[in-house]
């Protein structure tokens, strides 16, 4: 067991403003960044605000930016840094700061509400659902999402473009649309809901220009771009070859910027 003293810079402040504060803090074998933040709370800064829950990479609460990269603090081992490196921890940049490392992630909950829920098929009661494993694999991949919102934070469409937020649901919720669209028993179409069209028209799929930043930061390793967003775009494009749909999409709407 070897311990050493690490140098940390942690952003402290609130909606009024703030800045990086320097700390020197003990680090032990096997620890993660969240352990160090907890040690700061217990020994140097009892009111240092941070969100966390499971400390096992399952709940997606402790999202922050470590040396500028969006990460889960509980899954970021200290051993990935050089011992003489100063480690900078800042709140998620795409969301308004509440205090210290805690941001207002309300944007995501608003977007979640705008995606129409699963539509159960008529005539199938509880216990009567039959689905093959290979048909649920794809949607199951998307349901691995722990809603850490790192993809929402890193996505360049909104990261430095607050003005895009109203029109763009972000990778997490476009993936939710894809998940429902690929659900073998979702009866949205029968109920008159075209999920692919809403992805384009209401959730801003067109803003995405598939730079795969979301996939890179996903702690669950979900291939958001390749498996959710690109297929959703392809399915949407199929629709757009329908001249009536194409015409309709050109009337009364500006084309998307992505």
């Amino acid at each position: 067991m070897s311990s050493y003293e690490a140098r940390f810079k942690v952003w402290r402040g609130d909606v009024e403003g703030g800045g990086l504060e320097d700390f020197a803090v003990e680090v032990n074998d096997g620890e993660v960044v969240l352990d160090i933040i907890h040690r700061l709370q217990a020994t140097q800064a009892p009111d240092l605000a941070v969100r966390w829950n499971c400390k096992a990479g399952k709940c997606g609460s402790c999202s922050a930016e470590v040396n500028g990269r969006p990460r889960l603090m509980c899954m970021t081992r200290m051993s990935v840094f050089d011992r003489d490196e100063t480690i900078t921890v800042t709140p998620l940049r795409a969301f308004p700061v509440i205090r210290d490392l805690v941001t207002d992630v309300g944007f995501n909950y608003t977007k979640a509400r705008q995606v129409p829920a699963f539509v159960p098929p008529e005539g199938l009661g509880p216990g009567e659902y039959r689905m093959m494993q290979e048909d649920v694999d794809r949607s199951q991949e998307f349901r691995k999402c722990i809603e850490c919102f790192l993809c929402q934070d890193t996505c360049h469409v909104v990261r430095d473009h607050e003005e895009n937020k109203p029109a763009f649901a972000g990778p997490r919720f476009l993936m939710r649309v894809a998940e429902l669209d690929m659900h073998p028993l979702d009866a949205a179409e029968e109920a008159g809901l075209d999920r692919r069209r809403t992805a384009q028209d209401e959730h801003g799929l067109g803003y995405c220009n598939i730079t795969k930043c979301c996939t890179e930061v996903c702690p669950e390793g979900i291939k958001i771009t390749d498996n959710a967003l690109i297929p959703l775009k392809e399915r949407t494009v199929d629709r757009k070859y329908d001249p009536l749909v194409w015409l309709g999409s050109k009337i009364g709407r500006r084309s998307s910027a992505g």
Partner: protein, 642 residues
Amino acid sequence: MVDRQEWDVVVVGAGGAGLRAAIEARERGARTAVICKSLFGKAHTVMAEGGIAAAMGNVNAGDNWQVHFRDTMRGGKFLNQWRMAELHAQEAPQRVWELETWGALFDRTKDGRISQRNFGGHEYPRLAHVGDRTGLELIRTLQQKIVALQQEDFRETGDYEARLKVFQECTVTRVLKDGERVSGVFGYERESGRFFVLEAPAVVIATGGIGKSFKVTSNSWEYTGDGHALALLAGAPLLNMEFVQFHPTGMVWPPSVKGILVTESVRGDGGVLRDSGGRRFMFDYVPDVFKDKYAESEEEADRWYDDPDHNRRPPELLPRDEVARAINAEVKAGRGSPHGGVFLDVSTRMPAEVIKRRLPSMYHQFKELADVDITAEPMEVGPTCHYVMGGIAVDSDSAAARGVPGLFAAGEVAGGMHGSNRLGGNSLSDLLVFGRRAGWHAAEYASGRAAARPRVDDAQIDAAAAEALRPFSAESGEPAEGPPENPYTLHQELQQTMNDLVGIIRREPEMKQALEKLGELRVRARRAGVEGHRQFNPGWHLALDLRNMLLVSECVARAALERTESRGGHTREDHAAMDRAWRNVNLLCALTDPTGGLAATDPVRGQITLARETTEPIRPDLLALFEKEELVKYLAEEELYE
């Protein structure tokens, strides 16, 4: 001025039980508020890995509710509130199927039905699952169902939150009362520190467990026993708090992740436990009551996976209490792994690809946190505090708390269902079955009171506010009592005390010592001071949570001292055997001085009074599900006679 709102039903907690209760209450017409300490969708339920136990019989058609009931009673060593175990076994399949109609996607059988896996103590493959992330699927499905209901309300009223609202990142510190009955809750917003009151005739407590009172635990920071303490303070008794489940397999290294859960699915899918010499030691630890149900040789155990009808189960799949004690004994005997656990191996049992597909989170967790590749080498594991069987004493059918009209409880915070030990997989089903029942009966109770809503008393609000603000003045006040205390230090001392003195193996002198230490900590906790202000201040939040952890810890220690036998999640070195005379004895914890309100200052006299109660006899038709020879091992003479 404290913000006040009126609701019909308030649900405290947004894990599986809380969300299921809220859905039910709202669907039955009650305007329902949910309050949770974390963000919506982050509750501890997400950490459940293995699955939801429900006798659907999809994999083995021999399964039915009677078999599930039997397994549950055996797992709990017959101390279970049998009516709860019955309702649970009967209703669990409906609750799982209903999740599919809300969009859940479970792993499938070859014929397209919900797949079910083996688990400790379950006779047949019974756990509906999604890889090893079943809890996440459950919480997300319930969360999305809540959103679906809000979308419905939006279409009708133009307001998503007209009938169902989630107050996230809020903590409830008091249940308010009008005379005997519930009148609402008092709490604060973590973000701003602002106080608020939700007035409601019915309150459902669904706050989960107490693990954060122990040092080595699989539980998250939220598990500070809030609901247990809220009920006690409101005058409701807690049942059988001595029963705390130590999950046999938590990570033991590195130190910073010690306690994090390693799912039982590892064993359910074929993983085996070995000592430092590579021996499968579990064959030495099959207790008499289970002798005829578990394999005697490795060969038989290995054949069972493919031919369960002609072979008996491997002893690695004994109930959790048995496996945890066995691991503890192996380590104590010097046959442990380098970091003080034992070896859990799947690498020699399954191809790497199968491991990655069936146990993806475990693969990920060990790779990322411990540099261990579980497809190539064994894991090191040891017991970790995981679950409390004890909890709020409730009516089996309605989930109503005893003695406080309008108070309901469901999920881990409610007692009785699991007896002295819970089977893996029975928690998620418990949340759904009794979450729904609590929501249903709370809504019904509230609608009956619509005309005469209870009155919320200003004096109670003022007292609750003063109690919550105390940590800010602690540093300057009353120097005669002693210096201000750091809440983090107090918490660490409490965790060490419970871990060392009221842990997996218990002894009378140690528990007495624990009670003295808890008394001392209680006095010092009155001086827990905090810096800074009320906006998102974790030091303050912890100072307030300490009250709950100290109350609940005292319940655990007192009840554990009182029960002079070993049963399930309560193991006494000085009373090593299960005693049939204790089979029908419940221990109830109540607040000694319910009017005292704030924490007692006297370290000697505790805050908790214990009472013994004889359990209701098990209904004859349920007893008839067991062989006489088996019942003889559990039931007292006079019970058998009847």
